[in-house]
Point group: C2
Chain length 139, copies 2
DNA sequence: ACGCGCAGGTTGACGCATCATCCAGATTTG
DNA sequence: CAAATCTGGATGATGCGTCAACCTGCGCGT
């Protein structure tokens, strides 16, 4: 089910707006940032991606003109990521439709009560994984 | 959560047994087939993959010696996919550990009651997607 | 003051997934 | 019977994600 849902969601984004799910995630985070600029590792925390994935993806998005790397004052060696006008336009156009799809296909289909159960279940799985990691580290 | 769980599951398979999640899925299906041989499109139905993904993946698995394409009696133009000894050994070794991980990290963590709710929810999402597809086709 | 570790980030190689396109043989249709 | 169509499948190009290796300054210990 998860696969089918993601496939539908991302296919829609791709066909209607030329954005991948990953593009969308980055653009949303950037557009929600008050200053409109973030460091790569902040995006990493927000999206929970590996740093190398982030770097590769930002490179590709920069080539398509959605995003720009801009030298960051105060921290010589690193760069800020900033939305281009094009990037801002893309997310503004896509977001309402994507949100509507998520609501129709997932949130409404699942319903409020089951959604709460699902949140608890997710939490429980994450706890189980964290416990396993903890054991692996010092075991 | 779904991403974290899959990552853990597949990382374990990869590191301990050198198998990807996709490899595993194919091997399980083949090893469960009474005759030990299946046509590619049967595997496609069982896994719900696109045909081109199947073809590419079988090519890679064949190169690694897990699987073999064997001309199929009765149906000249197509080929059966058969497990090699190596493939059978790989799945026999990996399956118990993988199943244990799925149980510990997912099934037990979620618990029986929540699991049932989750099944209903999945079903509801699939219905919503199917309805959308139906509308799109003749609309 | 200097060396060294480390956090943030980049790069290259590789495997994987999708799309579009093509192919052969079988089946329908005119 | 011939032409269009359908089915099962292969292939090439391209984008994505991971791993391993590497680079670069900052900060810490001595």
């Amino acid at each position: 089910m998860q696969r089918q849902l993601s496939t539908h969601l991302y296919r829609h984004l791709q066909r209607e707006f030329g954005l991948s799910g990953s593009d969308y995630e980055i653009l949303v985070n950037l557009s929600e940032a008050p200053t409109g600029r973030m460091r790569a590792f902040e995006l990493g925390e927000a999206t929970d991606w590996e740093k190398s994935r982030m770097s590769h993806h930002l490179t590709r998005m920069a080539q398509r003109g959605l995003v720009r790397r801009e030298p960051c004052a105060e921290d010589t060696r690193y760069a800020d990521i900033v939305l281009t006008d094009e990037g801002r336009a893309a997310i503004a156009e896509a977001a309402p439709y994507h949100a509507a799809n998520v609501r129709a296909w997932f949130i409404d289909a699942v319903g409020k009560e089951r959604l709460e159960v699902l949140e608890d279940a997710s939490e429980a799985v994450l706890v189980a994984l964290a416990e396993h990691d903890a054991r692996a580290e010092h075991g």
